[in-house]
Structures are given as structure tokens and as C-alpha cells.
Symmetry: C2
Subunit: 347 residues, 2 copies
């Protein structure tokens, strides 16, 4: 497959059914465009101006409790509201539908200066437990049919506050990306009576070249069809339909994988590595979804340095996603990073 490292080609995303364009020879192009500001780590454990720090007042006037563990609350500027009527509006070629939902903010830690790579594994496990609770409580509500857990990390990814936190947007309709992944997994499941991702990680573990690492219960890899320069997936070895299905042992393995991967990310450009991450898992509309194999994906924008990102613009928006470095090159770069965070001295 040497030619894939040299010649322009398209690759197929088995989870969405879409093709992406890869132009490996194009990394030689000089960059004269925009430089971003590098992402710096916050330095204080408590910031009196941060609306996410314990004890501080938020926009609506609510005061945060003096929390000492991951803490979730309803977004003060929620994009979805829980009392919206979901009626359909149809007028010729114009179709709309009211959308109901609930948006939550999840503070990963009370400590303003931490990020996932800098947190202790035992505290990342608590974040996973909170994600489980939220998925469970929101997903069990009558009108909530999908729960999207995600994190926007870094100003370059639209994050407006360095306090370690993620979000959850839950809603009455199943979003587009999840519909695609459901369809593809279901058709594979029906045909082979096996999980698509279970077969995929088996093949990747044999090929090795896109694997970053594995631990007891998870495989961490750059997917063959990655779009973002250093895109990765954390996939449980066992087909777990949703985060609530993870055992205590698996949660520990998951937390270790998140920490180890994000340390390597920070080390690539010695910066607090920006990304959007998200967990794709079974919808919560009450159907079975045996085909679903949950996974967490990371979409990081940086390409060449801490200040030069990949732009998803003209061709990417009008035609289809395009990348320069190959998935294999990206995997090798991430794999080669130290397991010790660049801000820590090796002991």
C-alpha cells in the first residue's frame, strides 16, 4: 500500500458511508497564511472571574456550589429548551419542526488549571461516571431521543473558558451524523451478525500502522478515513452500546486511555492541544440498537504547528473533506510522543 503514502486518493468511511480526499504529496506546500495564537494552560487553580469555578456566580445569577468533583448543571444559554413544542411546520418546499431538548455543562474538575491530560486517572473515572449518569437521566426522559456528549477544547475550537469542561446537548430528534452511523452499523450487523467496529479493530490490530496504543479494554487509533490531521478514536474492544454499559474495570481502562492519548496530543506541539471530542453511542428513543458500538472521537484542528491549523473551507465545504498528511503518518507521530506530559519533568 506504499502508493497511498504518495498519491492522491479517496478513502471510505465505513461508519458514515462517505468518502474523503487525501493529498499526501501536498505537505510540501509552504504556509504563508494565518497563524493562530498558541493555546496556553491556565496557571491558577481558582480564578475569581471564571463562571465555572466553585462558589462563583454564573450569568443567570446562580452561584456554583463549592464542588470538589465533576459537576454538571443546565446551560444558562442553552441552544435547546425543554418546553418547546415539537410540531411540524410545512409550507410547500419549506419544512421545519420544533425541537425540544436540554443542554448541560459538565465541569471536569473544580481545579481551573487542569485539563484531561493533567488530571489523575481516578478523577477522570469520576468524569466518566458523571457522563454515565447524565446519559442515563437525560436519555430516560420521555421526549429525549439522543444525548450528545462533547468537549470543545481551546479558543480555536470556540471554547470561551479554559476551565476544564465539556457539554451535553440532548434532544428529541436523532442528529444527522448519528443517523448515518446507525444505518451503516445496522446493515453490517444484519448481514454479519457481528459489530462493524469489532471487526474493524481486529483488522487494525493486525495491520498495526494506525494503532497508537491499546490497553486491556480499549484500542486507540487513527481511523483509516480520518478527516482532521490528528483525528483519533477510542474504541472499546467489547461491543458496548452506550457509556452506561461500561463496567468499573472498563471505565478505568477508558480513563487511562483518555489521559494517555491527550498527554501525547499535548506533547506533539508542546501546547494545550485543542480539539472537539465527542462520544457516539446508541440513541435513547427506547429501541434496542444492538448494532451500536460506542466510541469516542477526537477532531483536533492543528496541522503543522501549535499555531497553524487545517482549514476546512472552500473545497471541503462544497465538495468533500480533504486532508494532507495520511492517517498512517499521523498515527506514527502521535505514537512516537512521550507518555510524560511536556510540562512535567521525567523522573
Amino acid at each position: 500500500m506504499a502508493s497511498l503514502q504518495e498519491q492522491p486518493h479517496r478513502r471510505f468511511n465505513i461508519l458514515t458511508g462517505e468518502w474523503i480526499l487525501v493529498s499526501p504529496h501536498r505537505t510540501k506546500r509552504p504556509w504563508q497564511g494565518k497563524n493562530e495564537e498558541p493555546s496556553l494552560l491556565a496557571t491558577v487553580a481558582y480564578d475569581k472571574n471564571c463562571y465555572l469555578c466553585p462558589g462563583n456566580e454564573r450569568a443567570g445569577g446562580v452561584v456554583n456550589p463549592d464542588y470538589k468533583a465533576p459537576y454538571a448543571f443546565t446551560n444558562d444559554f442553552a441552544a435547546l429548551l425543554s418546553d418547546t413544542s415539537t410540531s411540524m411546520i410545512e409550507d410547500g418546499l419549506l419544512q421545519a419542526k420544533g425541537e425540544l431538548g436540554e443542554c448541560r455543562v459538565v465541569c471536569f474538575s473544580e481545579n481551573h488549571s487542569l485539563t484531561l491530560p493533567l488530571m489523575e486517572v481516578k478523577n477522570i473515572i469520576k468524569v466518566i461516571s458523571l457522563w454515565q449518569d447524565e446519559y442515563d437521566v437525560l436519555g430516560n426522559k420521555q421526549q429525549i431521543n439522543h444525548v450528545q456528549i462533547f468537549e470543545n477544547k481551546g479558543a480555536i475550537m470556540g471554547c470561551s473558558n479554559p476551565h476544564p469542561h465539556g457539554q451535553i446537548w440532548s434532544q428529541s430528534t436523532i442528529p444527522e451524523e448519528v443517523i448515518k452511523k446507525t444505518e451503516r452499523q445496522l446493515s453490517y450487523w444484519k448481514k454479519n451478525n457481528r459489530s462493524l467496529l469489532e471487526d474493524y479493530i481486529k483488522q487494525e490490530l493486525q495491520a498495526k500502522e494506525r494503532i497508537i496504543f491499546q490497553n486491556e479494554h480499549f484500542v486507540i487509533l487513527v481511523p483509516y478515513w480520518a478527516i482532521w490531521p490528528y483525528e483519533t478514536m477510542i474504541i472499546p474492544k467489547r461491543k458496548v452500546t452506550a457509556i452506561t454499559g461500561l463496567t468499573e474495570e472498563e471505565k478505568k481502562s477508558f480513563a487511562e486511555a483518555i489521559k494517555r492519548l491527550t498527554i501525547k496530543y499535548d506533547n506533539i506541539f508542546q501546547t494545550s492541544f485543542p480539539y472537539s471530542s465527542g462520544i457516539h453511542q446508541a440513541p435513547t428513543d427506547g429501541k434496542e440498537y444492538s448494532e451500536w458500538h460506542m466510541h469516542m472521537s477526537f477532531y483536533p484542528p492543528l496541522l503543522r504547528s501549535a499555531t497553524v491549523k487545517k482549514f476546512m473551507v472552500g473545497y471541503e465545504l462544497f465538495a468533500n473533506p480533504q486532508r494532507d498528511i495520511t492517517a498512517e503518518q499521523a498515527a506514527a507521530t502521535i505514537r512516537d510522543q512521550s507518555e510524560i506530559h511536556y510540562t512535567h519533568k521525567a523522573s
Copy 2:
């Protein structure tokens, strides 16, 4: 339809078959995130360091001719190459295919300091003529089945040089976005024996609220399903399959529409308004495509000011596109802008 201006809802994109989320109540949220640098207009008509200016040397050592009209050449760092083998590589769940193509750069003017809104209509017509020639020549090549014409404007949209220019990426496969639009137009055409967009603009001209303006041959509007804050479309009133089908009269109307729209864009935030624009039209694989109704779309990222953009991040990447201001609010804002560019004194 008043409630669409207040309550969260989804809207259906008739051209792609996808839904988007609209959260109109969310514009009240304060912004504490990233500020971009405002886009400034270049001030000199010739820049000796610009590799697109007439007579200057480009990266490969080629010297630009002393051009005095729109000028196109093959991209020195092309993402697609014309001698790639298009063979399929299949290995279990890994599928790839070599992709052949040609990438072109189109300088809109020899004058470094111009942008489309500042160009004379007669010179924009020349750009349209060059787009026609390129579509024709590239599209007629045996192995080129799609020609994507686009412009990335502004550093925020990954553009590395203010010299007025766009790009063309042509290739052997039909890209994802174009496949979706072909399918939807074809099924409407088969069912109704009319163009989907012809019926759509009729309905919009009656509703009026999303129309920015119309001229003799084109309608300029914010589509009902717009994703980007000030997204617009320029649609010919007559079903024209591809840019080569435009008459001389229609080309003039098209040029006037581009100028008038982009002047209004620059006036919104008194800045050289960044965007990616692109022309969607019939593929060039030799099939008929009677269903295709060509159109030009603009995807501008700015949301609140010349320095605060909309981030398409976590929820948008993992679930589906989301916007805050409604299409109707955006249309009213663009419509209300002066027809005279902010850098020019009204006479």
C-alpha cells in the same frame, strides 16, 4: 410562522436532504471567546512579494505573464494530479481509490488591491467568462467528471494571499456534496418535471422575507436552511444546468448580482467580508443532468462582528449544523445594507 423566530427548531435542506438546528433565542448569550483579526483590504495595486501579481515569480520558479485580465494557471501545490492511477484498493474494511484531477488558480484581476465588490461589473463578467472556459476545457477531458469552482476569501477562511483569486479543483469522482444535490434535484425532476430550485425561488419571491434582491435574471436570497450566519445563494431564474449555459445577458446580470451582494457583505461589519463561495452545477461525466439548476453559494463565518465568528465545532461536528440568528433575520440585515461600498463616499 412567528414562533420560528423564537423557538428552537430544525429546518430541512431540500438540496441535500439534511436537517439543521436553529436556536434563535441564543443570540442573547454574551461572548467571552476568541476574537479574530479583522480582514483589511490590501492597499497597493502591485505587491512585489505577491506570487499572484503580474510579472512576479511563483514557488515553482514560473514567472507570471504581465496579465491585464483574469488569468488562470495550474496550482503549483495541487491537491490533485493529472497522472494518478484511479485503481481501487480493497483490503477487508479498508477501501481506497486513486483520485486523478487538476487544480487551477484563477486570478480575478491583475490589481492586487481589488476584491469582487470593488471590481467593475465589466471585469467581473470576464471572471465569469474565464470560469466558463475552465469548466468547459477541464470538463471535456476524458477523466475529469467534476469541476469545483470556489473562492476562499480572507485569512480566517484559510486564504494565504489577499490578491483577488479563487480556485478550481477538478477530479475523476463526483464529490459527496454534489452527489446529494444531484439525487434530490433528480427525484424532484422525475416527480414534477420541473426544476426544484425554479419552484423554490418562486415560493421565496412570494414569501419575500428571505430575499435580499433580484435582478433581471437572478434571485439572491438566504436559503431557508442556511447554516452559516450570513449564508446566501445566487440562483438563475431560468434552469441553467452549468455556467457554460449562461447567455451574455445572464452573465452581466450574474456579475451585477455578485458585486451588489458582496458590497452589502462588506458593509455589514465594515470589513473585507470573509467567506468561502462555490458554484454547484452539473458534473462533467457526459451524462445529461437535465435536473441540475446551477447556483452559487456563499458561506461567510462572521457572526457578531468583524472579529467574532461562528464556530462549527463539537455539536456541529458530532451531531449536526447549528445556527443562532434565523435566516430571516440574516436576510433583513443584508438587505438593509447600503449599495455603496463603505470605503467609497456616496456621491
